[in-house]
Symmetry: C2
Subunit: 419 residues, 2 copies
Amino acid sequence: MKDPTVTDTQTVPVPDIDLLVGSRMTRRQGVTAPLGFRAAGIAAGIKANGKPDLALVFNEGPDLAASAVFTRNQVKAAPVLWSQKVIENRSLRAVILNSGGANACTGPEGFQDTHATAEAVASTLSSWGTETGPVEVAVCSTGLIGERLPMDKVLAGVTEIVHEMGGGLEGGTDAAYAIMTTDTVPKQVALHHTGGWNVGGMAKGAGMLAPSLATMLVVLTTDAKVSAESVDLALRRATARTFDRLDVDGSISTNDTVLLLSSGASQIEVSQAELDAAVFAVCDDLAGQLQNDAEGVTKRIAITVTGAATEDDALVIARSVARDSLVKTALFGSDPNWGRVLAAIGAAPVTIDPDRITVSFNGSPICRNGTGVPGARDVDLSGDRIEVVADLGLGNAEATIRTTDLSHAYVEENSAYSS
Amino acid sequence: MKDPTVTDTQTVPVPDIDLLVGSRMTRRQGVTAPLGFRAAGIAAGIKANGKPDLALVFNEGPDLAASAVFTRNQVKAAPVLWSQKVIENRSLRAVILNSGGANACTGPEGFQDTHATAEAVASTLSSWGTETGPVEVAVCSTGLIGERLPMDKVLAGVTEIVHEMGGGLEGGTDAAYAIMTTDTVPKQVALHHTGGWNVGGMAKGAGMLAPSLATMLVVLTTDAKVSAESVDLALRRATARTFDRLDVDGSISTNDTVLLLSSGASQIEVSQAELDAAVFAVCDDLAGQLQNDAEGVTKRIAITVTGAATEDDALVIARSVARDSLVKTALFGSDPNWGRVLAAIGAAPVTIDPDRITVSFNGSPICRNGTGVPGARDVDLSGDRIEVVADLGLGNAEATIRTTDLSHAYVEENSAYSS
């Protein structure tokens, strides 16, 4: 079986972001920036500390087109198994999300809990006048693996949150707060296209962050008038080049889900290329926000591999460097220990020529043709952003992985998460 | 290309260690425990701090049979390239080893330095009465990648160390000290067989420790009367089941080398099975010593995967768990966060059935058929040894990877190694 973290990206076109000239990006509103969407976030008591833990995103229509990508981890949480099933119809009315528990490794009872949650959302929405079936409701959960959810609190919360949502049009920010776990800030973005349509989104995720075809919990919305096929294409193309190229700790979550819902409420028809560019821009921004707020981060690092024979080769090698504990600890220490980059490249399952590798840190060449250059150890890495570029000298393909350093704070946070 | 860290072990027989009943293991003498070997270790000035940094192991014969396994990292240090070449003859008179510099990524000049070192050892030995060619001298280096060695000090040290070796028969311990880098203790072992023959060994290695077909620097010696083919078989069989199953940080060194030299000086003929068992026992002990002294270690962890379809599957999954930063930080915190073990298993590139996985920590079941059992979070992991056993429920094959936790000390040590 193929490494599930490696995806074939050769057929994914590079988005033409020039199509967005004049458009405006904001970090407010998020999923409720596009017309036709409502959202809410409340504290339902799922988290012991009383913080917000339940979010709802509701599509008023007229369209209900939707697509999703999910974790490739073979151990999938109950809400992932449920949402994979309902998304087959390519149509969603709502997404219910909870933090405070992943509902993963919870057996058939955990799946029944997810089903019951979708049923409760559907019946509550129906009683408020929007006829909804449970198969129109996606479910996402995040938090500790292996614990059942407190279903009394979840179900009471569902009634409350539908009521809450009815009160206003701009609950996007509340929803973004309610899906946070170890995140320190909510992550939202909205793209307002000059043509009069919008794409919005929110995300959570700070650890167990090595998305595989999908990532973390992300809900994207648009009011563009587009087909379900177009929604699906735009989502897959965007995630392959954004979330799939973020790798904080090499650990692939059991709950990763990215959803894109379109309401068509702007009544503006948008081409595939325009939608691709806009969804990519929104995903790229959210991926950057996730990297900025990653667990224990002190350095935001971009590992770029150029001169590869194929884009997949470049990705595999960039990921090998991004996951190397010795590279990550050296960069935490602002130490230009480039030999560790070479060792990580040489250990990757891609054939390379050691004598052709050229590496630079923050634009300064530190190794040429596999051999160190004078002054290599004097490069200043004290800032909070580091760019590592490795050229293989084998071809013209390239790829970038975004990662972070391995710090004391990462160890501290993750040695005391469940207890 | 296949993951270079994954080796086909299906054909490696399990050694019959019952053949060693009555034999005695010690942690003294090391490479000079077998008859026919001399060794020495000195401070040649390669390390700035004045600690011992040059070691020599000399085979007096009558036999000169030798074998070696090397790192599978594609970026190979100059001494690895040299030793790979000379070992083709399956005959070695001596091994010269230095700490204080890896001589990796040093270009053609670095290779010339290795060649010159072998030449100097050969000519000095010849002038002392043992006619030796440079192709009979293996070279090993360890330390920072990317710096040339101070060849004036290396060559002066070679003259001194040959002289030093002439003075006594038991320089094994001095040699073991001279190859240390971040190691805190020297690693030596000797097996004294009841049949009157011996196997000895020494090792260094504390970080960048994820051996691939070979590991770190290890020199093994025996005075058994065995063929070069037998030496080669015994070494490959032993390393596949010992050093290859040690994985401290997933980082594969550019310099890993394991050598086995036989002098035949005991004049005792030994069967392949006996040699296999003895070399395995010595390698197994040294691998345990490496684990005990790994960088930043506070917990010695064994990850065992049982119930796999094949031994390779078991190894790949055990390695996936052993390399997972979230598993390693949780265990550092004595936190039985078993969901992270499940997530790491599900992320491995081997097909599994999540609903059949059973996991125990220190003998206490914490997850059965993919679902947590009551009391799972109460397991006591406060001791300094942790056993994780995951049964896949798919077959009868199993494998164990030895690893360590991810601690503050690991981050501290590795964020300030080169600077």
